[in-house]
Amino acid sequence: MDDDKIIELYLSRDESAIRETAARYGVRLRQIAYAILQDRGAAEECENDTYREAWERIPPNEPRGYLFEYLGRIIRHLAIDECRRAAAQKRRAVYCELTQEMAECLPGPEDVESRLEAQELGRILSDFLAGCPQEQRAVFLRRYWYFDSIAEIGRLFGYREEKVKSILFRMRKALKKRLEKEGYTV
């Protein structure tokens, strides 16, 4: 069933919307959660929570034309939240690794909160990504949106791991420079 029909089911409060969503996007959503959590059971829990949240949000939201990305955002957020909650360090390992990488190009907490709103940061990131070559942009998002491992990205793009690390390092550096240019002291 295509996205529009699924959204219509949500709008008409037809519970088969959830079944159809799971059939169309369940696997991909689970993959996102699994990449973050590295735990099959937890990924499945996040997937179920995503359907529940989608049920509550649509309506009023009508993510026509971007249903997968919409659901992807929900599950990504839920999985990150789960990481924050989880006491077991092993579950946090992937996430910690990524936040440490990201910390390289970000200011201290007080700086950002005082100078830039999240919305503004989002705009800067958008501009930054828009100016990147397609492959580099995809590498960045595979790492920081989809939470793929360096090795997985290497496989996907046919790069050695060192090259993936190098691309990401250069992009973080460029992002840092961009933030500085926007008046942000890193």
Partner: protein, 494 residues
Amino acid sequence: MKSDDFLDDIVGGAEEKWIREAGNIDGNEIKRKRRIRTWSRAAAAAACLGLIVFAAFRLPGGREPAGNGSGAVSSETAGSEAVSSEPVSEPESPAQSSALPKVQASDLLENYTANPVEKKEPDDAFIRAGYDWAVRLFQETYRQEPSQKTLLVSPLSVVTALTMTANGAGGNTLQEMEQVLGSGSLPLADLNAYLHTYLKSLPSSERAKFSFANGIWFNDREGFTVEEPFLQQNADYFDAAIRKTAFNDAAVREINQWIDQHTDGMIPELLKELNDGDRMVLVNALAFDAEWWAPFSEERESLLPFTGLNGETVETPAMGSTEYWYLEDDTCIGFEKSYIGDTYRFVALLPKDEEDFAGFIDSLTGEKLAALRNSAAQEMTLVTLPKFSYDYAVSLPEVLKTMGLRDAFDAARADFSGISRSEQLFISAVLHKTHIDLDSAGTRAAAVTAVMVNLGGYYGDMHEVCLDRPFIYMIVDTAAGLPVFIGTVTGFSE
């Protein structure tokens, strides 16, 4: 703002178009374009398969080409072998790949840069046709398999190679190809678009890897010309590597090398020779290499008494696990078992009638198989599965003729004027070779094993599927649900 907030809120809020772009990255295309081989054969892989569909063209009256019958294929017979411990080669780095002898032929790929073409997402029509095609190819191959009846075919590989060929067909030859390949419902234009989209959509990750490659070699013999639209069409839809070369021993080595590379070393050689009459070789290669998501328990490894089609019982190494997708209809029981990430699943079907395996295969239809998979119930199932490993090679012309593809193999009737107008061509051989190696290996077992333990309390309600007699298995993708591979295990040797 903390870095994890940035990661969550700001990166998480990246524009949809870029999320989609990154999500739809086609690794196969990128890698193929770079001509870099990145795969390695993981020692921990639980299953690895490779296969080739090969279609060789020759002139009427020419000698039988290398590809006729099984002559050109290493003549491994269907797998009556028990588990074989194939030596695992060291992972090959791109640098090592580039150290391979360079291709000798003129590489024409640059002249045929793929143009953007219509995409057609897999829908009910494609899935229905895909199931029909898979079941009919499997049934007919089984019927014509003379002895052991243990086989493995890839419907996807065969349909891809033949659709590439059909792009040069005309008249009744084309009509028959559309009828057979599209199961009577998909014209060639749709097949091109569906396959183009579907092949690119099949996921590949570090631990559940899938790749495909298409290649066309044609003879640089004077007077033989190939129609440009045919080559362009196959470059556009199938990203085929196109090469013009003298059909000599060097070309045989080159094609075998390409096959070896694109099957990740699992099929090191297909061609023995090329003859004067051969004009074109079309190849599709697929490779699949994935780890189980929930590995088999070492504690449940055993020797399983397997009663083969010939009635003989042989003890064979087997493994056990608890699975969560149970299948049943009036004719069979079975289960589905996920590979890492659940992008692909192994599906096993055991007929209820222990005496009539052939009858069970005859009774299958695409619709029935699709319905069976759709009815999969999330119920705990105790599974016992023999380890197996085999190579399989089959010459498909008779199978395809029985399915209705007749003119293409008839030197007098074939119309491949879309390939060349300088000479009258027909298909002289379609070779299909596969390899599977299935065992218990896997990594990252702890987390998933824990899930199994947690659910142990339901033991009393479990189904049980013990594959101790002939069974059918498939590797399916979980998005469209289509069988990428389908095969049988019918017996083991002492």
